[in-house]
């Protein structure tokens, strides 16, 4: 290859170097760690090499299976509802009507709150004894519920909290996409006779398809990274009803001090996220789609 042919690679070298240092290296480290049985407070050199024993244990570990299942269910409900609500809200508030900008600001507030605070806020709202939710349910004659102490209610609570926090994210991305749509195309569809829902379904949504896919992808990755809110809200309980995979890893690593095993599970997590993201990218290919017209 001539110098000229190589030069593009030369120019992406810094980006590649940062990628390797920032992304590939930690993943390899996690994998490396998963081959050892290391405990915090001891020298890593003294940690016994255990080969793929952690992976073998993981494959048959019911707790890991349960956690993956919880995560998938959590992801399904949150992402489905968030996408639906986020898109619906964006469509409602897209028009520059009076007060829309105020609404928009209010809607994105949850996004600006640190996850730890979100966890605390909702923990107190859902609190069985002093929480507002039980208080107001009591006002309308509904028995107080132990929201975070019952497997189904706690799962509902984390789904609800996640929807509360992340719908604005979809909302903000979708509204940006909608506002960037050329108005003439939207007018063309009105002239072509599209009614309200045809207008949305056949014109607006297909045109922001790549944005929707990217939002979906980001949320999916986030679901597998979600940790702080559940950690504070339920700590994964009751039982493992709300122990998402990332929280499971955290608990294994720092509560029960099984760092090597936790690393093995995090390798599994990376594989799952990779497979799902890859699936979305292949199916949708949002990055290929250029803006046209």
């Amino acid at each position: 290859m001539s110098i000229r042919a190589l030069s593009p690679y030369f120019f992406i070298l810094p980006a590649v170097a940062i990628m390797v240092a920032g992304l590939v290296y930690p993943v390899l480290q996690a994998f490396y760690l998963s081959l050892y049985d290391w405990k915090i407070g001891t020298k890593f050199e003294d940690a016994p090499f255990v080969g793929i024993r952690h992976f073998i244990r993981m494959v048959s570990d019911e707790n890991v299976h349960e956690s993956v299942w919880v995560t998938l269910r959590f992801g399904f409900w949150t992402i489905t509802i968030e996408m639906f609500l986020g898109v619906a809200l964006a469509l409602l508030l897209e028009k520059p009507i009076r007060g829309a900008s105020l609404f928009r600001t209010i809607f994105i507030l949850p996004l600006m709150i640190s996850p730890v605070v979100v966890g605390l806020i909702w923990r107190y709202l859902f609190d069985a004894r002093i929480g507002w939710i039980n208080y107001y349910l009591g006002k309308v004659g509904i028995e107080p519920q132990v929201w975070l102490g019952n497997a189904d209610l706690a799962f509902f609570a984390i789904v609800f909290t996640d929807i509360w926090q992340w719908t604005p994210f979809i909302f903000i991305i979708v509204i940006a996409g909608l506002q960037a749509l050329p108005s003439e195309i939207l007018e063309a569809s009105k002239i072509d006779g599209a009614n309200w829902w045809q207008h949305i379904l056949f014109v607006k949504l297909p045109m922001i398809r790549s944005i929707l896919l990217i939002a979906l992808l980001l949320r999916l990755i986030d679901v597998f990274r979600a940790l702080e809110v559940m950690y504070i809200l339920t700590g994964g309980g009751p039982g493992r009803a709300t122990e998402l995979l990332s929280l499971h890893i955290y608990n294994r690593a720092f509560e029960t001090q099984q760092l090597g095993y936790a690393s093995a599970i995090s390798v599994l997590l990376i594989l799952i996220v990779f497979a799902l993201s890859f699936g979305i990218l292949v199916a949708g290919n949002p990055l290929k789609e250029k803006s046209d017209i």
Binding site: K43, V146, G149, P238
Partner: protein
């Protein structure tokens, strides 16, 4: 300020001016270390917050600077492990929850206190270690005895108790009186009182119940009085024994008759329920006494009575809380020892009481019995404090959180039969012990 102290200070002042001429012999035991800074890692809990006042007095008196790194107590262990496993650590004093002591010592992270107690220039002859409540000292400070964490001849002292505790029963005098109920002394009576309160529409007893170590802690409080244990003497788990099942059943009873949401209560929520008047009974750490007197936390000051931890087949209360010692990689070990000695001395213990903390000395409990209703109860309770109410082995974390924490959540959140749940947990516990090699001696002998 007593006369002795006054004299010492005067002497120190004179010695200070004479220092330019004197070359040997230090004027006071602290002077050699004046100006050094001792860094303490301890939890951000009421007792320790109160102790900061005492630290200031220490600095003023000795010239040794003190820096505190106070963390939420569940975060403490990671931080300390990380710091103590470095070549040169930043911490000179670490304050640990008693269950971590085995892990710290087995990883070689602590300095044996014998190194200091053999140094005549450091040890205050009036320190009187025998006055420190034995249950506290053994449970928090001694490592390597029987089973590695209990008292015994193979044990050695690594720390002194500070913020240590046992369990007592706190009750609402007004509510029991109103309902015409006697203060329970046995578990049978307690059970009945709880049922009656519940029937009267009053949430009976609060407890920790959150999945993980919280629910396990709640259960363990009842396991010891009911005669149960986690392991037999050969490290075989016995958490499916009739006693253990009975304790689990009692937890279910607590949840059914207690305030709403015990399934989600950690220590803070459980205490708050009692302190805010949403529960009539509290059976956990003695710290509830100090908290009930704190107007910022409590709405029930003056209405709370204290009694011994009820007995079932035997008397047995928890031993827990904190002890403090010196990391092996500390750079200021002698100064650190002086501070520990200062905090746990008779005068220091008394000052802690005055600042709103909890004492560790029998003499302090006796001397203040008139001021605090709970002190005579604690003094009476201490002989019953059971150092083996939970095993303090490195594997305990996993058993505590992953096995018992899960099983007991199932007990209190469902109506499933308890025995199968505990059987399953026992099997899991056995697998862990097997994995960690506890049965190799038994196998070897076969």
């Amino acid at each position: 300020m007593d006369l002795f102290e006054l004299k010492t200070r005067a002497a120190a002042a004179i010695a200070g001016t004479a220092l330019a001429f004197a070359t040997s012999a230090w004027a006071n035991p602290y002077e050699k270390y004046a100006g050094t800074t001792v860094v303490i890692s301890w939890p951000a809990l009421a007792h320790f917050n109160a102790a900061e006042g005492l630290l200031e007095e220490f600095t003023e008196e000795t010239g040794i600077e003190v820096e505190v790194d106070a963390l939420q107590y569940l975060r403490l262990r990671d931080r300390q492990l990380l710091e103590m496993s470095k070549e040169e650590g930043d911490y000179d004093i670490a304050s640990w929850v008693v269950m971590w002591k085995g892990e710290y010592v087995s990883k070689g992270l602590l300095t044996p206190l014998s190194q200091f107690f053999t140094n005549g220039s450091l040890v205050d002859p009036q320190f009187d270690i025998d006055d420190v409540a034995d249950a506290y000292l053994q449970n928090g400070g001694v490592v390597g005895g029987k089973k590695g964490y209990m008292p015994g001849k193979s044990g050695a002292l690594y720390g002194l108790p500070f913020g240590a505790e046992t369990s007592i029963l706190a009750y609402r005098k007004d509510i029991l009186e109103e309902q015409g109920l006697e203060v329970p002394t046995t578990y049978d009576e307690l059970r009945e009182v709880m049922t009656k309160l519940h029937e009267a529409g009053i949430p009976a007893m609060t407890s920790r119940g959150q999945t993980g170590h919280q629910v396990t802690a709640g259960w363990l409080l009842h396991l010891a009085p009911m005669g149960g244990k986690i392991f037999d003497d050969e490290w075989n788990p016995v958490i499916n024994s009739p006693e253990a099942v009975k304790a689990a059943e009692f937890m279910r009873h607590i949840v059914k008759t207690g305030p709403k949401g015990i399934e989600t209560f950690g220590f803070g929520e459980a205490s708050a329920a009692f302190l805010q008047g949403d529960a009539a009974l509290y059976l956990d750490t003695l710290k509830i006494a100090a908290m009930s007197r704190n107007p910022n936390l409590s709405k029930v000051d003056g209405k709370v009575g204290f009694a011994l931890h009820p007995t079932d087949v035997r008397c047995g209360s928890e031993t827990g809380g904190f002890a403090m010692g010196i990391p092996a990689n500390s750079q200021n070990k002698e100064a650190a020892f002086l501070l520990i000695q200062y905090l746990t001395s008779k005068a220091g213990d008394q000052r802690m009481v005055e600042l709103g903390g909890d004492p560790v000395r029998i003499s302090t409990l006796q001397n203040n019995a008139d001021s605090f209703e709970d002190y005579p109860v604690v003094a009476e309770q201490l002989p019953c404090a059971d150092p083996d109410w939970r095993p303090l082995i490195p594997e305990w974390n996993e058993l505590n959180i992953d096995v018992l924490g899960q099983a007991l959540t199932k007990v209190i959140t469902t109506d499933d039969p308890i025995q199968p749940i505990m059987d399953e947990a026992n099997e899991k516990a056995r697998e862990i012990m097997e994995r960690e090699g506890y049965y190799s001696w038994a196998k070897y002998r076969q």
